[in-house]
């Protein structure tokens, strides 16, 4: 499909002039013959990179080419053979008839093979571009700038004429979509149409280039290259915070940061002298590599994977090369060796990141106001602390503290041990009573056991009970599970075979999500105390309060039941003791921290004891609650503010650089010789003045001697405007790609870009100001037939909009768009139930308010499940650098814009904007102009009106349906419904989702 366009081009070229061996024939040999007959392999003793064997014969001694006689030439016989066993090349598609025609013409013209080129001439893309002179054109009145000279010269050679300028409104929509990614508003169109000055178009272009939305639009393709996303990739695909980097890109573009600076800050901003916060954030570019948090993975292996990704991404984004091939072996077609690859590796091998789950190294990214606010809040906290201390020093506090101390001390001591009378284990464990009246479990350990104990508390009143789990054995375990832990599910007390209702439970310590209150009804996970952790293996008590105090008769028996029924098997209590109390607050014990107990119970207290008690009392004293609350509030506010400040991943250079080794066959575990940083020898030299690190590498990328960067970047810009690059294979400037359609134009733009000081906005302006760009995209059929992909630019561009633009445009025309720039990613509606990632409980929590209507660029990008409306329109998952998006045309796209709730909502909003004009025609015309900028033709208008009227009568008869489709329950629901249907049609028009 891609070849078809080129086929037609090269045929045209062939007809225009004698065949040029280097430009036309050699590329065919390179592309289709070298693999088996080249420098590395010479099947049948033939090599097409030199003339001898081709002109005089290989092993067979028969020349492949007979000058002047193409029909007799073996080469032509082979490439045109009908026998599938004979035809050359044996693999892949046959040579196209145009390629064959070129070869024939070359042979018939004498098979000129210039001697000198048998020595290897560097591939055009590795030679620094020199600004070519503007070619002469016959129609000197057409060109507006240099671009047009190259385009027109070519058109004149092809005997084609440019198309006239596009209609003003259509052109404004095109340039608006191209420069800011949004269509113009009706007001902007009117302003433009009213401006009759000669600078009207330029004024509009300048306005767009200065819009804050310019940065958003041009960040989009850059973020594909940067593989920017909001998650880590791999299995759980957890969230990470990279949006500060995304905002950095938007800001840098809006401020028109020169491209060389743009490069240096992203590659090595952290290493610049006195690096600013922004320069560090810029290095997020290479922290967008994926992070693997799976069990059993080797962090060093995935650090290696990240470096590989950074090498490949750098060389693709700036140099347009397929350097990645050299990871495992010398590049088969381009002059890069595996050694070059690992020299390059050595530049990037010294950063501190090692595939950590927490993404370190990271930094807090503060706006100036956030920094000021943080300082202010910290002052507030300090003041609140002082006030609390002052209040605590007031008379009366000391007195109430003494009272509390006495109560607490008695809550600790006022327990008597219950001496077990009988005991048993349902699971068959052996319970043994110890001297201290505890019960020790031994022998069989059932998966879940039930212990039953009876005791005679003696006559009197009981206000509370206590279960104490004790440490036992050399390992001081609390439970019998293999990791030393227990999980108790339920605690019951029976008196006279009747359950004693318990109203409250409190434990000295409970594991997160295992609170003591679970024991009351046996619900939840049960009660546990983190006793798998050896440091936390100390005896733990849980206290219970019955609904009302128990009056126990002398000799009466109570029965205690400890139930274990956790999903974790074997986690039965290892040793325990039971107590009863008559105190006033049986749960108080649980509230007195263990570390405070010695101080409370000490016969005589020292300063440290007094200090501890005072500090604790301040933290619980009811009469200080006012000041305590004030402090907690201040701390809460500070924490909230601090936590809201994003933490993002950045590059950080190690103080001690790592050693880098050659990796034979690219395998992570293989290790060859030690290597030093270096750039491929075939490319421009690494300036001796550059430091041998990432900074130097960044300088090298934007060195004006670099033959590739400027070409690669302007070509990618061009692709955004015209749908295809001058070099169509934007990702590969190597020998395996078709050469550029307009090589001189590419070089002229590249040199212009560098000479302008890498001024990106200037290049954009140059392109959109050209007559080439401003042409109408309407074309007669013969032009479509001759140049289906518009590689000659005899008409204006017409390409399907990218995913983000389709969304943004619907929001603009419906008036729903939030124009807020930057900030955390947002969650516009998406169908239910898409996020079902193994081992991840993360949920898509739909945004509210204006965040529902933000530009597509801000939609949360989960790598394993990007928003479906985006991927349907070819947005990538961004796991790796994406150099070119495809542009498909599928029924799923149709379903998305027809039925997605977001697009339906846009149609409803559009309906509300157009309803109530003086007549139906006016409303229809407004709707059309809001969507497509231009005025409708009368045929178009009539068709819309007809649809409206049919649907109006349908919805008048179906009021409920009208309310649903219009999203309105007002009296004009039927009208709104009909306009919603019209809006839905407009949003789906081919012209709407196309830039024309």
């Amino acid at each position: 499909m891609r070849l078809s366009g080129l086929v037609i081009l090269s045929a045209a070229v062939a007809a225009a002039a004698p065949v040029d061996f280097d430009r036309q024939v050699r590329p065919i040999f390179e592309l289709r013959c070298y693999e088996c007959h080249g420098e590395k392999k010479q099947k049948s003793g033939i090599r097409f990179d030199q003339r001898d064997t081709v002109l005089h014969g290989g092993d067979s001694g028969k020349p492949l080419v007979t000058a002047g006689k193409s029909a007799e030439s073996i080469l032509i016989q082979k490439v045109t053979s009908a026998d599938p066993d004979e035809v050359m090349p044996p693999k892949g598609e046959r040579l196209t008839s145009e390629q064959v025609a070129t070869l024939k013409a070359w042979i018939d013209e004498g098979a000129q093979w210039p001697e000198k080129v048998t020595e290897k001439k560097p591939h055009w893309a590795y030679v620094k571009p020199i600004q070519p002179p503007l070619p002469k054109v016959k129609d000197a009145s057409w060109p507006i700038n240099g671009i047009d000279h190259f385009v027109l010269a070519r058109l004149e050679k092809e005997a084609l004429r440019p198309t006239s300028t596009a209609d003003a409104a259509v052109l404004l929509r095109r340039v608006s979509l191209d420069l800011i990614g949004l269509p113009p508003t009706v007001e902007e169109v009117e302003m433009f149409l009213k401006d009759t000055s000669t600078h009207a178009y330029e004024n509009a272009v300048d306005r767009l280039l200065n819009s804050p939305h310019y940065g958003e639009r041009w960040a989009r393709p850059w973020l594909d290259l940067a593989r920017y996303a909001d998650t880590q990739g791999y299995e759980k695909d957890n969230r990470r915070t990279m949006w500060p980097y995304r905002d950095w890109v938007i800001k840098a573009l809006n401020e028109n940061m020169p491209f060389d600076q743009f490069t240096i800050e992203q590659m090595a901003g952290d290493m610049l002298p006195n690096a600013t916060q922004e320069q560090k954030v810029a290095t997020g570019f290479h922290r967008n590599t994926m992070t693997n948090t799976e069990g059993g993975t080797d962090n060093e292996e995935f650090r290696h994977e990240a470096i590989i990704d950074r090498i490949n991404t750098t060389m693709s984004v700036w140099m347009g090369t397929t350097f990645s091939c050299a990871q495992c072996h010398n590049h088969k077609y381009d002059p890069f060796t595996a050694k070059d690859y690992y020299n390059f590796y050595a530049f990037l091998n010294h950063t501190a990141d090692v595939d950590y789950d927490d993404e370190k190294p990271t930094m807090k990214v503060m706006e100036p106001w956030e920094e000021r606010e943080l300082a202010r809040l910290r002052e507030t906290v300090k003041a609140a602390k002082t006030q609390l201390d002052e209040a605590a020093a007031l008379p009366g506090i000391a007195e109430s503290q003494r009272e509390w101390e006495m109560k607490a001390a008695s809550a600790l001591t006022d327990w008597r041990v219950l001496d077990p009378v009988t005991w048993s284990s349902k699971g068959g464990a052996t319970l043994t009573k110890t001297e201290s009246k505890s019960l020790l479990a031994g022998g069989t350990n059932a998966a879940s056991d039930v212990y039953m104990v009876t005791a005679r508390p003696g006559a009197g009143r009981i206000t509370g009970f206590r279960l104490e789990v004790l440490e036992t054995g050399d390992e001081k375990v609390l439970g019998r599970a293999s990791n030393g832990s227990f999980v108790l599910s339920k605690f019951e007390i029976e008196s006279d075979s009747k359950q004693v209702p318990l109203k409250a439970a409190a434990a000295e310590y409970s594991q997160d999500k295992y609170p003591a209150t679970n024991l009351l009804a046996g619900t939840g996970n049960g009660w546990a105390v983190d006793s798998a952790d050896k440091k936390l293996r100390v005896r733990r008590s849980v206290c219970f309060e019955p609904e009302k105090p128990l009056e126990i008769a002398d000799g009466a028996t109570l029965k205690f039941i400890l139930r274990h029924d956790s999903k974790f098997p074997d986690a039965n209590v290892a040793r325990f003791r039971l107590y009863a109390t008559t105190g006033g607050d049986p749960l108080l014990l649980a509230q007195v921290p263990a570390e405070l107990r010695p101080a409370l119970l000490a016969e005589s207290r020292n300063d440290s004891d007094r200090e501890k008690l005072k500090k604790h009392y301040i933290s619980v004293a009811p009469e200080l609650s006012k000041w305590r609350d004030a402090l907690a509030k201040a701390q809460g506010t500070e924490k909230k503010h601090y936590d809201a400040i994003p933490i993002t991943s950045v590059m950080e250079e190690l103080k001690e650089p790592r050693e880098t080794f050659f990796r034979p066959r690219g395998a992570y575990l293989s290790k060859g010789d030690k290597v030093q940083p270096g750039t491929p020898a075939i490319l421009h030299p690494f300036n001796a003045g550059y430091p041998s690190n990432r900074v130097g590498l960044a300088y090298w990328l934007v060195d004006t001697n670099n033959p590739l960067t400027a070409r690669v970047i302007v070509n990618r810009f061009w692709e955004q405007y015209f749908g295809r690059g001058i070099m169509e294979v934007v990702e590969d400037f190597g020998t395996q790609s078709e050469p550029p359609s307009h090589p001189e134009l590419l070089d002229w733009l590249a040199t212009h870009f560098m000479d302008s000081g890498w001024d990106m906005k200037a290049i954009h302006k140059l392109i959109v100001m050209s007559a080439t760009y401003r042409q109408s995209s309407k074309a007669p059929s013969d032009l479509h037939q001759r140049d289906p992909y518009n590689r000659l630019y005899a008409r204006g561009p017409r390409v399907r909009l990218e995913a983000e633009m389709i969304r943004d445009q619907a929001l603009v025309v419906s008036g729903l768009l939030s124009r807020k720039v930057g900030g955390p990613s947002v969650f516009p509606p998406q169908p239910e139930g898409l996020w079902q990632v193994v081992y991840s409980g993360d949920k898509w929590d739909t945004s509210k308010g204006e965040n529902k209507y933000r530009r597509g660029l801000y939609t949360f990008w989960r790598r394993t499940i990007p928003h479906p409306a985006m991927t349907t329109f070819d947005a990538p998952s961004r796991e790796f650098c994406v150099l070119r998006r495809s542009r498909s045309n599928t029924p799923l796209q149709a379903l998305t814009v027809l039925n997605d709730a977001g697009y339906v909502e846009a149609a409803q909003a559009l309906a509300r904007r157009v309803i109530g004009r003086s007549c139906v025609k006016d409303s229809a015309e407004l709707a059309f102009r809001l969507c497509l900028t231009r005025k409708p033709t009368s045929a178009e208008l009539d068709r819309l009106v007809k649809l409206y009227e049919t649907e109006l009568s349908h919805y008048r008869d179906n009021v409920d349906a009208a309310k649903k489709i219009s999203g309105s329950s007002e009296s004009n629901a039927a009208e709104l419904a009909a306009w919603t249907v019209v809006g839905n049609v407009l949003l789906n028009l081919d012209e709407m989702i196309t830039k024309g």
Partner: protein
């Protein structure tokens, strides 16, 4: 092939040329005839010829996500049972990395009973009573191996040929190579059950660097069967039809004004979308099946279940979908809790799936579809002959991830019947006979479709990519 395409190309351009000079949309409705559309060069889903005569037209891949234990289901090792609970010789496991096993592990013999079945005498465990009834229709491969030991990379490796995200899945390659047989349904459909999506996520059925038109479409048995397939609330089919008529008329006016053939494709895609809106929900409605078929599969109406998905898969294949990929999570029997040990956990998992897989093969056979439909059943790797013993509790037994050997079964579509292929050592640790690597399996599946895995390539970032990377050999002994 090329010249034919070019001819169609020219024909359409000429046809279109007439439109642009003034005939307008006169003949468009006839142009939208699906047959004509299917031959469009621009239609990425147009039918394409395979490299050679295919044995299969359709496939269903039943992926048991989590990796079922070959040692407890398909590959009986008496020696392992004999050595149960003894230390594993260090020479075996020394070089291995495990997800969870630490220290010197103990060997673990299967607690399940095995028996021989059918005329072919295929040996299966008693966990698979249903499958045992059709052993003469299937081929069991006991010598699979892979390079990856974690779920996500191993699943990606199996379906995309590479252990990382970003490569096209097998179904995407097939759709790219052969186009789609149906104009009313997606050619490549994914169904998920078992409560979770597989670890590898949507990348397992993504299109990678191929155009997105080739990606798998996930159909759901709850909610919308295909995303965005339902008309919005308040819009009935008649209104949708009238609005699409208006849309087409307006697009035709645009086509006449501007003359871009892409507009023509767009018009056709909207018509396809309209047809899908009817055909997809119909296909997804399994309640229409007769009771004996429902019973055969053991479907659970209204639920997301493996059995429902098997039946759905058959309905899709019958209606022209080429490749159905079905994922069922829950085979990760580490034995770290009662739900996922090798005794009850695995048994429950088999109970949930055995009947339906068997029913699928039986049903395809009785409809005469099995001969040209390949069915593949398997996980992403095997499980260790070692007890993982994570809880140190003898009442729980489990196995860790094991890339060196595993078993799958295949049926139909040119695959032999009643064959047991390949073997592992006495402990089931390594493959000793007729090794089949994941890339070999991929090459073999493509071969069934008449595609040469070395020729099915796509150029991306300067090199030709394949499903099988630079590896893979077709396993001819598996083919009938």
């Amino acid at each position: 092939m090329r010249s034919l395409d070019q001819l169609q190309f020219t024909t359409r351009r000429q046809f279109f040329g007439k439109c642009a000079v003034g005939i307008g949309g006169l003949a468009l409705s006839s142009l939208l005839n699906e047959k004509l559309f299917a031959s469009e060069l621009e239609n990425p889903l147009a039918r394409k010829q395979p490299h050679f005569k295919p044995r299969a037209k359709r496939a269903i891949y039943l992926h048991m996500a989590g990796a079922p234990s070959h040692l407890d289901m398909f590959d009986y090792k008496p020696k392992l049972v004999q050595l149960n609970n003894t230390d594993c010789p260090e020479s075996l496991f020394k070089k291995d990395r495990f997800a969870f096993i630490k220290g010197v592990p103990k060997l673990l013999g299967t607690p399940h009973k095995f028996a021989k079945h059918g005329q072919c005498g295929m040996e299966l465990s008693n966990l698979l009573p249903h499958l045992a009834t059709i052993v003469d229709d299937i081929t069991l491969v006991r010598s699979m191996h892979t390079d990856q030991f974690n779920h996500a990379p191993a699943q990606l490796f199996l379906h995309t040929g590479a252990p990382r995200q970003g490569r096209p899945g097998m179904g995407a390659w097939l759709t790219y190579g052969l186009g789609s047989e149906t104009q009313d349904l997606p050619g490549f459909v994914v169904l998920v059950s078992g409560g979770k999506a597989p670890d590898g996520g949507a990348s397992l059925w993504g299109s990678g660097f191929l155009p997105t038109a080739y990606q798998g479409v996930q159909c759901r048995s709850q909610g919308e069967p295909v995303l965005y397939v339902s008309d919005p609330p308040g819009m009935d089919r008649a209104t949708r039809r009238r609005s699409l008529d208006a849309l087409r008329d307006l697009n035709e006016l645009q086509l006449a004004q501007v003359g871009d053939p892409e507009t023509l494709t767009r018009i056709a895609q909207y018509e396809l979308a309209y047809r899908m809106q009817t055909s997809v929900p119909e296909i997804m409605d399994i309640s229409q099946e007769p009771q004996h078929i429902k019973d055969l599969y053991g479907i659970e109406p209204g639920k997301v279940s493996f059995a429902n998905n098997c039946l759905l898969a058959r309905r899709l294949l019958e209606s022209g979908t080429r490749f159905v990929q079905l994922f069922h999570w829950g085979w990760d029997q580490h034995g770290d809790n009662r739900d996922n040990d090798i005794r009850q956990g695995l048994e429950r998992q088999c109970r949930q799936t055995d009947q339906a897989c068997t029913a699928l093969v039986t049903d395809l056979k009785q409809r005469g579809l099995l001969d040209d439909t390949v069915v593949i059943w398997g996980g992403e790797f095997g499980r260790t002959p070692l007890n993982e013993d994570r809880t140190k509790n003898p009442s729980l037994i489990g196995r860790d991830h094991h890339p060196h050997s595993f078993a799958i079964w295949m049926a139909g579509g040119g695959i032999k019947r009643g064959l047991t292929y390949g073997a592992t050592d006495d402990l089931g640790y390594h493959v000793t006979e007729n090794k089949v690597h994941v890339h070999d399996l991929q090459a073999t599946i493509l071969h069934c479709f008449g595609l040469d895995h070395t020729k099915l390539t796509y150029r991306f970032q300067g090199r030709d990519f394949r499903l099988t990377d630079v590896f893979g050999e077709v396993v001819h002994p598996l083919l009938a």
